[in-house]
């Protein structure tokens, strides 16, 4: 009962933290899309490059987030951004690389060679082929990668409260340090609901972005 | 021996009950191959799967060598029946040897003996055991996988085998090779086999008996020759196709159709004798043989020559011969292709045993019809 009173009484604060939380994730994943999708497309040209890039990205993602935050402090302190918003965004960008690069790479390299040949045969240039054939076909898979990145990084951002980045994790960190179950549960529930809600919204976006001709295949 | 008695299977679908198999009775003698043939959805596969109780019949009885299958535990029953499916179904997690020995292992047979048996079976289909025993299915070509699929069903030496379009997934050329190989094995093994197919040519080639199905009913059950000669009704007739006479060619061996009473010429015979032989036979060509009885040439009726000319000087070389063991289809194809209205038929040593003419082919088909 206590908890519900606390929640309703602090709706404004919850909203504020949620907004901050979402802004970290979306700014970072937005930047990650701009870097990771081109990388994913580029490495389809070379198996060796793909191996190195994917290995590096998958190693990156195994490093626990709090350890990554910690490792960034000495690196970013010299320019005055050891803690706060910036390292959180950078960590999310790094974590987003693997799911987006890997899915882009897999999707583009799995495009039916016959379609590619047909596109070349009709006289499309490399960029026309990418834009008109390969990327549209790959979008459902790339979107799945973006969704994975966003959902995972909502969790990472919750931990970023410990390096002063703000967001819904603040409730959890305060709840723990003040032994206050009201803040603890508020933080846990709100961050969970945020993750679930954004996952659903992105699923909807993915459906809207997917060419109607592909709907049968991409529905899983 | 396999006997089906009034076998019926009714499936309950959302659109009401469907009689997939409707009162089918047939009896297959031991050591014969019965091909269940028909368009898709005709109930042939369902009928087959009721034999090893993958599908339980709604009514009717199945006897294998006189034993009621209902009275046998389904697990034991299946272990005693070889089973080959179209997708082959080799277990990718097991090596070739372990795949072949699945049923022997289930039966708890001695491992050493079963592995030796697997090696024997591999050799039987021309695959080197040393190279293949330890491989995994993904390391085999399609044709090799198919062969392993078949010998896996043979591993426990079951008297009865069920084969569901076993060669359906292979390209036509390899399919012919594997079919021939399988028929050779069957000659030695004499298994009782139920074989599902939708390919008439395959059925005519493999079957001792063909069972034609349409929407769950058995339309005709007969030997391929009899089926092609006397289709029981218009459905069977249209299913067999209007070229069914040609399909029968495959069922008659050259030795049954060739003329054995004829005069052969020798190279040193005078041309005059050649002329006499040609006139008496009424054929456009006469065959010339050497001292061992091997055909060396053929003499045409219109060859112009002087009185003292020898047959050997005038004869043209033989463009084709046919083995007496071959089927008529091959013989006729070679008669057409080489423009040989008189085709020499030879034995294994290449000696002339008879000749085949268009008339003799037609006559032999007619006499086969009369035989029935």
């Amino acid at each position: 009962m206590d908890i519900i009173w606390f929640m309703t009484g602090n709706l404004g604060l919850i909203g504020e933290h949620a907004l901050r939380h979402v802004s970290i994730v979306f700014v970072a994943v937005g930047i990650a899309v701009v870097t990771a999708v081109p990388i994913g497309i580029a490495i389809t040209q070379s198996k060796a490059a793909a191996d190195v890039v994917l290995y590096f990205a998958s190693m990156m993602i195994t490093v626990p987030s709090i350890a990554l935050f910690g490792l960034m402090i000495p690196l970013l302190s010299p320019i005055g951004y050891g803690i706060g918003y910036v390292p959180a965004v950078i960590a999310v960008i790094l974590y987003s690389q693997l799911p987006i690069i890997r899915n882009t790479y897999t999707a583009i390299s799995n495009v039916d060679p016959a379609l590619r040949e047909a596109a070349v045969g009709m006289g499309m240039s490399t960029f026309q082929r990418l834009r008109q054939v390969e990327i549209p076909l790959a979008i459902p898979v790339i979107m799945t990668g973006i969704r994975t990145a966003v959902v995972m990084n909502i969790g990472v951002t919750a931990i970023a409260a410990y390096i002063g980045a703000g967001g819904l994790g603040t409730f959890i960190s305060r709840g723990i340090s003040q032994s206050d179950p009201r803040q603890l549960v508020t933080g846990a529930v709100s961050v969970s609901l945020l993750a679930i809600a954004i996952d659903l919204i992105l699923l909807l976006v993915q459906k809207l972005l997917t060419s109607k001709g592909l709907v049968e295949e991409s529905r899983q | 021996m396999i006997r089906l008695e009034h076998l019926t299977k009714v499936f309950n679908t959302p659109n009401g009950p469907v009689r997939a198999v409707d009162d089918v009775s047939l009896e297959l003698p031991e050591g014969e191959i019965c091909v269940l043939l028909g368009p898709s959805g005709c109930g042939k596969t369902t009928s087959m799967k009721m034999i090893n109780r993958l599908i339980e019949p709604t009514s009717g009885k199945i006897y294998i060598n006189g034993r009621d299958t209902d009275a046998t535990d389904p697990i034991q029953l299946r272990r005693s029946i070889g089973y080959v499916i179209q997708q082959i179904g080799l277990f990718p997690n097991k090596t070739v040897a372990d795949n072949i020995c699945v049923v022997p292992d289930l039966l708890g047979w001695d491992r050493k003996k079963t592995r030796a048996r697997a090696a024997e079976l591999l050799e039987l289909v021309g695959m080197d055991p040393a190279a293949f025993m330890g491989r995994y299915p993904k390391e085999l070509s399609g044709g090799q996988q198919q062969r392993v699929g078949v010998i896996r069903a043979l591993a426990a030496d079951p008297p009865v085998m069920l084969m569901d379009e076993p060669f359906g997934a292979i390209d036509p050329i390899n399919r012919e090779v594997i079919q021939d190989e399988f028929l050779r094995m069957q000659q030695a093994l004499r298994k009782t086999i139920i074989f599902v197919s939708h390919d008439l040519d395959e059925a005519v080639k493999m079957a001792d008996k063909i069972a034609i199905f349409r929407s769950g009913r058995l339309e005709q059950f007969a030997s391929p020759d009899r089926l092609l000669a006397n289709p029981a009704n218009s459905f069977v007739e249209s299913f067999l196709g209007s070229d069914r006479a040609l399909k029968r060619l495959r069922l008659v061996r050259v030795a049954e159709a060739m003329l054995t009473e004829f005069d052969a010429l020798r190279g040193d015979d005078p041309h005059a004798r050649g002329k006499v032989v040609l006139e008496e036979s009424g054929l456009p060509f006469a065959i010339v043989v050497d001292e061992n009885g091997r055909p060396t040439g053929c003499l045409a009726g219109n060859a112009e020559a002087g009185v003292d000319a020898k047959v050997g000087d005038l004869a043209r070389p033989v463009r084709a011969t046919i083995s007496t063991d071959a089927d008529l289809r091959l013989a006729v194809a070679s008669m057409f292709a080489q423009d040989m209205p008189v085709l020499p038929c030879v034995d294994d040593g290449g000696r002339l045993k008879g000749i085949l003419t268009y008339r003799s082919v037609v006559k032999s088909l007619a006499s086969a019809e009369a035989r029935e």
Binding site: D51, P74, I83, I159 | L54, I85, G89, P92, N93, L106
Partner: protein, 259 residues
Amino acid sequence: MSEATTASVQVQKSPASARWVTSIRTPVLVWLVIALAVAIWISLSDMPAEILTYREDIIYLGGQHVELVAWSGGLAILTGVPIGALLSRPAFQRVSEALLQGFNVGATIPTLAILALSMTLLGIGTVPAVFGLWAATLLPIVRNTYAGLRAVPQHLIEAACGMGMTPAQMFWRVELPNALFVIFGGVRTALAICVGSAPLVFLIGAGGLGELIFTGIALDELPMMLAGAIPTALLAVVTDFTVGRLQYYLVPRGINPLR
């Protein structure tokens, strides 16, 4: 038979050995670069010496850390695989689809939130920590076990049934081995989550290397923080590498796309 011989040649020059070379070369390359960077860092800074003053803490807390991961990861494998297997049985088909949907939603819940809820329910200490990590680790294992078993081709099951295997034999000899690769994939993901979340359990009073990291951040004590962060990161990478190797060697060659 000529077909057999040509195919055997093909198989012999199959790229299995070549793939092995690239799969080992890439990590070596990456690690060389990292080792080089670390060597330069060590030679230019006195930080490593400062970090080493926490040696005893690292060993003690590291042990605790590994123990927590072993308990929660081990329990998650021991419970997750049977649950996934059970759900894949035809008898559970109706329930399992709905349940899996629920699990998918559950998988989006951040680990920190799971740990916070675990603490609200069970208090502080090792038990809520292991419980929380177990819950976060469980889902990928259940999901992959279920998906792997359901993905075993129907014709394999038909062949097994037609040859007279009992349902138990079909499960142990055909279904489970053929799902093993996918199950291992789930275990790998799950253990990465488990190891990655393990530093957080310090927050609910279960110790581990997180103690050095969080305290180091709070006190702005860089060497202390790195004394926790570096071993944590190494442990995560080593665990992932080990499970990856185990997957490579334990899953039979016939069904292992990596070999």
